[in-house]
């Protein structure tokens, strides 16, 4: 079967489809329609539809032979198109141009190189150009690469802003401890001990923060996926948090927390106890 695209509102270009409820007749073409289209037009297997290339020429009847779930494709999701699949002779007859094909896919036996197959076809054929699927995928992924870079830039800005924010929080938290630090110094607690205690606290804050942040990220990811899957009616994954991302985030958070806590604590323990006490 050949996939045929239909605009979602089924009437602007290419192919038109009209729901018919009469039972399937002999000799009519068979089509497979994607699940979303079947749901929208309330079609099921065995129903008959009329097809045509314009609203006033829908004279071809076809019976719904199958309802299929298309493989999720991020490149297609925003187009809001609906598809059905027809046998090539039926499509050619419908279009009235039997020898005209825009695109076709070639299946290869396992082990056959797509690159060499494409090269062989391009050497021997005339009037079309063959591409390996990886090249088409790379071409159609350009938008996603740009989006991905944009996300990365946002992430870097977020991390920098978070680091500054974290440093400020740590400075404030440590400043709150001036009196405690002064008293500890008065009763004979060493700078090293105070520094270690504050650093440990910073590490705990960072660890708790990264655990909370990871949990929040999973919740936000689940909500994002649920919303957009419903919105686009697709099984695509829009937000994915991999173990590598979690590990990177936790390590980065710990590093930033320790750096910020260490800087603030170092500043505190280098200050004379009488100054911390407010009498210096």
């Amino acid at each position: 079967m050949i996939p045929v695209s239909l605009p979602r509102w089924l009437g602007a270009s290419g192919l038109f489809c009209l729901l018919a409820t009469s039972p399937a007749a002999a000799q009519v073409a068979e089509v497979a329609i994607e699940r979303a289209l079947a749901r929208e037009l309330e079609l099921s297997v065995g129903d008959t539809v009329r097809l045509g290339t314009a609203p006033d020429s829908m004279d071809r009847r076809a019976v719904v032979a199958a309802v299929y779930e298309p493989r999720p494709d991020p490149a297609e999701i925003a187009k809001r198109e609906r598809h059905l699949r027809m046998h090539l002779p039926d499509l050619a007859a419908l279009l009235g141009v039997p020898d005209q094909v825009d695109r076709l896919g070639v299946g290869l036996h396992p082990g056959v190189s797509a690159d060499s197959a494409a090269a062989a076809l391009n050497r021997t054929a005339f009037g079309f150009r063959a591409y390996p699927s990886s090249a088409i995928a790379a071409e159609s992924s350009q938008t996603f690469l740009v989006v991905s870079r944009f996300h990365r830039a946002i992430a870097v800005i977020t991390i920098v802003a978070s680091a500054v924010f974290l440093l400020c929080i740590m400075l404030l938290k440590v400043e709150e401890r001036r009196m405690d630090a002064a008293v500890m110094r008065f009763v004979g607690v060493r700078r090293r001990t105070i520094f270690g205690a504050l650093l440990l606290e910073a590490a705990l804050v960072a660890a708790v923060g990264s655990a909370a942040g990871t949990g929040l990220a999973f919740l936000a990811g689940a909500a994002t996926n649920a919303y957009y899957r419903r919105f686009f009616d697709t099984a695509l994954t829009f937000s994915q948090i991999t173990p590598q991302i979690v590990l990177f985030s936790v390590l980065l958070s710990l590093a930033l927390g320790l750096a910020a806590g260490g800087l603030a604590s170092w500043r505190l323990v280098r200050t004379r106890p009488m100054v911390l006490w407010g009498r210096g």
Binding site: D180, V183, R185, V187, G188, V189, P273, R279
Partner: protein
């Protein structure tokens, strides 16, 4: 009550502060000798220099001139690390506002100086419980500092100050934040401490506390008026 050889010896202490472009003379040549087992009250109005004197003899501030010796060790000759060690092992501090660490329990607050001094866990837990029982808080050992009353917090602070068996206990207005009845309990505790051999130097406005002490030093304008 005094024995030969002072526990604490301060000689000709001067302390000047710069303030608003002028020099404030907080201490003007103060000398003090405290022997083992003494109970000394330093009294005087605000700004007389009594707290400054306590800070200098406690090694938490440095004099402009003069010297302080604790058990024969001159504080001016010590490096910061050595001075910190001396404060840990030879001196005990009690503050007007208690200054316990709020996230720790009473027992943990008392254990803190012992942990810093390197005492083992079991030993310091046992001593902390013993000290808390001594100050009458045996049943409150596992309460956080924030769950204690003012009088109880000051008792914990006293237990903390006693943790490493200091040569001298230094207290700055220890009853200043307490009501009369609670303040009296602290006075009773000080009397008992001194009777058990603890050397006490207490800065106070409290006439009752001054009356309890075996020796009262009156200060005014950075000088000792009478001893």
């Amino acid at each position: 009550m005094s024995e030969a050889g002072p526990v604490l010896l301060a000689t000709a202490l001067l302390k000047d502060y710069p303030m608003n472009g002028e020099t404030v003379h907080a201490l003007r040549g103060v000398s003090l000798r405290v022997h083992r087992g003494d109970y000394v009250a330093i009294a005087g109005p605000s700004g007389s220099g009594k707290s400054t004197l306590l800070q200098l003899i406690g090694g938490i501030d440095t004099p402009s001139s003069g010297s302080v010796e604790i058990l024969g060790t001159r504080l001016e000759s010590l490096k910061d690390r050595e001075l910190t060690r001396l404060r840990l092992t030879r001196l005990g501090f009690i503050f007007q506002r208690f200054h316990l660490l709020p996230v720790l329990t009473a027992r943990e607050n008392v254990e803190l100086p012992m942990a810093e001094a390197g005492l083992g866990g079991a030993e310091r837990r046992a001593r902390a419980r013993e000290l808390l029982a001594y100050v009458g808080l045996g049943g409150r050992a596992d309460h956080r500092a924030t769950q204690l009353s003012g009088g109880e917090m000051q008792r914990v602070a006293i237990a903390r100050a006693l943790a490493n068996r200091p040569a001298v206990l230094l207290a700055d207005e220890p009853t200043g934040e307490l009501d009369a009845a609670t303040g009296q309990e602290i006075l009773d505790l000080f009397r008992r401490l001194n009777a058990d051999g603890t050397t006490l130097v207490v800065v106070t406005h409290d006439q009752r506390l001054a009356a309890e002490a075996g020796r009262v030093i009156h200060m005014l304008d950075g000088r000792i008026l009478g001893d």
